[in-house]
């Protein structure tokens, strides 16, 4: 099984699917000859040509709007938005059109895309290259939201997303694009949507997280273990629809939950997870659920490592929750 980083694994998934299904097209800014600013689509242009790997005009709204039309025609477009911060010019097409097509047409016109976009901070990108807007899409009926944390999942979840009948936002945590390495199965490999992964077993505190923050949560869990606190760490993988069963089963075992995410705290996915835990496992709780998150500020440049919920902020929350 070859070792790959996230970039290589996503590239491998795209190449595999484009060879398997000639309806799959990739479009976006710089995705063609240059292979994307993070080189995720590198080599696809040479193999599949400019009909299927399309450098577009600089317009996110145009990319998503035309991709919806292509999907309605019967293609399977995988548009790239260069940074998730730049997705907002396409927001109306995503939330008012793409997400609603199946519903508003009484099921006649399912429109299906996988929008790939790098997400998150920690790469010295500042406000416009570091945000985590997943909650703004989770709130929208009709979308699925995915965020892998390792190369094998990135490949498996992307192949599942492309073959899924619903529109998917595929957030790629760019901080670990090259840092996360691992074995990636050859050929056709799918990781089902809607299934979280229990990355570490433990009986004392449940940590729920996703994307690049998984590694911070694991680091904090290892430090907590040195103090006798065993954390169960859940990597959501699919952010919406949520794998509620895995979360609730774990909280019923541990009685304690800490959610970790990069996005701002208020109205983030962490708040929804805490609400669901309260609704479904209140009598099992031994401590108030906690959130360790980014702040309700714009994303800062110089102080980004203070903004991100790194392990030094997660560890105290684990300890306080465990000892409540």
């Amino acid at each position: 099984m070859p070792q790959m980083n996230m970039v290589q694994a996503i590239n491998d998934a795209l190449r595999f699917e484009m060879r398997r299904d000639d309806r799959v097209v990739v479009l976006g800014e710089d995705v063609g000859k240059v292979g994307g600013v993070f080189r995720v689509t590198q080599g696809l242009f040479d193999e599949f040509g400019d009909d299927r790997v399309i450098d577009t005009p600089l317009s996110e709204g145009g990319i998503i709007g035309t991709a919806i039309g292509m999907a309605l025609y019967g293609l399977v477009p995988v548009p790239e938005i260069q940074f998730s911060d730049f997705i907002f010019p396409a927001y109306d097409q995503i939330v008012s059109e793409l997400a609603k097509y199946r519903y508003r047409s009484g099921g006649e016109y399912p429109a299906k895309l996988v929008i790939r976009t790098p997400v998150g901070g920690g790469i010295r990108g500042g406000h416009y290259h570091s945000q985590s807007p997943e909650a703004q899409f989770i709130h929208v009926a009709g979308l699925k939201v995915v965020c892998p944390s390792n190369p094998a999942d990135a490949k498996g979840l992307l192949l599942s997303s492309i073959r899924d009948p619903d529109p998917v936002l595929f957030f790629e945590p760019k901080r670990i694009y090259r840092a996360a390495k691992g074995d990636v199965p050859d050929g056709d490999y799918m990781v089902p949507l809607g299934k979280a992964s229990v990355v570490r077993q433990g009986n004392h505190v449940t940590l729920v997280t996703w994307g690049a923050m998984l590694y911070e949560a694991l680091d904090a869990a290892n430090q907590a273990a040195a103090q006798g606190i065993e954390c169960e760490v859940i990597d959501l993988r699919t952010l919406w629809p949520l794998d509620i069963d895995t979360i609730i089963a774990s909280v019923k075992k541990t009685g304690r939950v800490v959610v970790v995410h990069e996005a701002p705290k208020s109205c983030g996915l962490g708040g929804e997870i805490v609400a669901l835990v309260n609704e479904k496992a209140f009598l099992h709780l031994e401590a108030p659920p906690r959130r360790v998150t980014g702040f309700d500020t714009p994303f800062p440049y110089t102080l980004e490592m203070e903004y991100l919920p790194l392990s030094h902020r997660i560890l105290p929350a684990i300890i306080e929750t465990a000892r409540y």
């Binding site: 005009p57 317009s59 709204g61 709007g65 919806i68 039309g69 508003r104 009484g106 006649e108 629809p241």
Partner: protein
């Protein structure tokens, strides 16, 4: 108001002055329908200019005429139903029948239509049964969109007719992408996309025109310049000379047509489709027409539009103009008008009776089609709703 109550077209139509003629030496208002660059086929005496004659057979003209009258009568009846509180909303096409039906007619069988929200006549032309359209107006269980959208937001895939959205211009990029899909697959399919002149101010117009120009997609942009975007007049949408000229900035040829001239609309749309089929890419058509009614039943145009301004447009009404042609070429008579009006009236009445008898969509259906398969959170919310008490007024339209 029925078609018969419109005065016959005047032999000497003089365009009313443009609202802001002093600032803009070239009027872009639809009052400009008689300007020399505007393609016209139907002359004031009911004969056709051979240069722009699309060569329609008499039965084709008769069938389009009947569709125009049906559209007019539907529009009028739906407004009444809304005023009676029997339906919630209607957004009509009064005065724009020639633009919509002429262009829909000109598309080939394999071509597609991406609508705005004012083109129910194009959906009916494409085979949507009247009953389904009326079901949509009532949002009942047989509504093609299952009562999920406002009236006049229908869909008709069998007729290669897209899905109606409320936000302005969103269909433009989608139509371009659809046509682009046909091009990628090397299939001979063109797309007609409708929008009003107000939509040319939207992001999507710019995006759609730009992508279509760059990728030479087989699209016909049909800009219905009907004078108003709700209360905002044409002069407030652009500082360009007109709307067709906007194509130039994107490398797309633009053509202006008298949108109240059925024959001219057929001609320019056919030319645009032929151009698309030759692989030469998109065309933008500016159809100069006029919205004789308000924007919708929620709008009172008397607040912003002097009634006197309607006079030239009543004289240019597309329906009497085609009738005059038919009187001359096919001996069409007042009695035949009365007969088709009676037929349409009966058909419409029956459809309304049927729609009012049809139940609302089921409660469960609210949760269907959000995703291909219903996820757990929607199943939970559905079951909670079903267990609970019903909202007051449930069962009414």
């Amino acid at each position: 108001m029925s078609t018969a109550s419109y005065p016959a077209p005047s032999p000497a139509v003089s365009p009313a002055p443009a609202n802001d003629g002093s600032v803009h030496p070239v009027a872009r208002h639809p009052h400009d329908a008689t300007a020399p660059d505007v393609v016209r086929a139907l002359r004031e005496d009911g004969t056709l200019d051979p240069k722009n004659d699309p060569g329609l057979r008499t039965e084709e003209v008769l069938s389009l005429y009947r569709a125009m009258v049906r559209t007019r009568l539907l529009d009028e009846r739906l407004v009444i139903l809304q005023r009676q509180g029997r339906i919630g909303f209607h957004i009509g096409s009064l005065g724009e029948e020639a633009t919509i039906l002429g262009s829909a007619f000109a598309m080939r069988q394999n071509d597609w239509i991406f609508p705005c929200y004012r083109e129910f006549s194009a959906a009916l032309w494409r085979g949507m049964p009247l009953q389904r359209y009326i079901d949509n107006m009532f949002g009942n269980a047989n509504d093609p969109v299952k009562g999920r959208q406002m009236p006049d937001h229908y869909t008709w895939k069998k007729g290669r007719f897209g899905s109606v959205s409320s936000p302005i211009g969103t269909q433009i990029t989608q139509a371009v992408g659809f046509a682009w899909g046909a091009k990628v697959k090397r299939e001979d399919t063109a797309v007609l996309v409708y929008f009003g002149e107000g939509a040319t101010s939207s992001n999507e117009f710019h995006n759609g025109m730009n992508f279509a120009g760059v990728f030479k997609t087989p699209v016909v942009f049909m800009c219905r310049n009907n004078g108003w975007a709700i209360s905002v007049p044409t002069e407030r949408q652009t500082a360009s000379e007109n709307f067709a000229v906007k194509g130039e900035a994107y490398g797309i040829p633009g053509v202006r047509v008298d949108g109240n001239d059925l024959f001219a609309v057929v001609k320019v749309t056919r030319d645009a489709v032929a151009r698309a089929a030759r692989g030469e890419g998109p065309t933008i058509i500016e159809a100069l027409t006029y919205r004789l009614s308000g924007h919708s039943t929620s709008d009172d145009p008397k607040v912003y539009r002097p009634e006197a301004g309607l006079d030239p447009w009543r004289r240019l009404d597309p329906i009497p103009r085609v009738r005059q042609y038919l009187e001359r070429t096919a001996g069409w008579s007042e009695a035949q008008d009365k007969q088709i009006e009676a037929e349409i009236d009966a058909e419409l009445k029956a459809a309304v009776v049927e729609a009012e008898k049809t139940a609302q969509p089921s409660l469960e259906s609210m949760f269907e089609d959000v995703y291909a398969e219903m996820p757990w959170h929607l199943r939970e919310q559905r079951d909670e709703l079903l267990r609970g008490t019903r909202a007051k007024g449930h069962g009414q339209h």
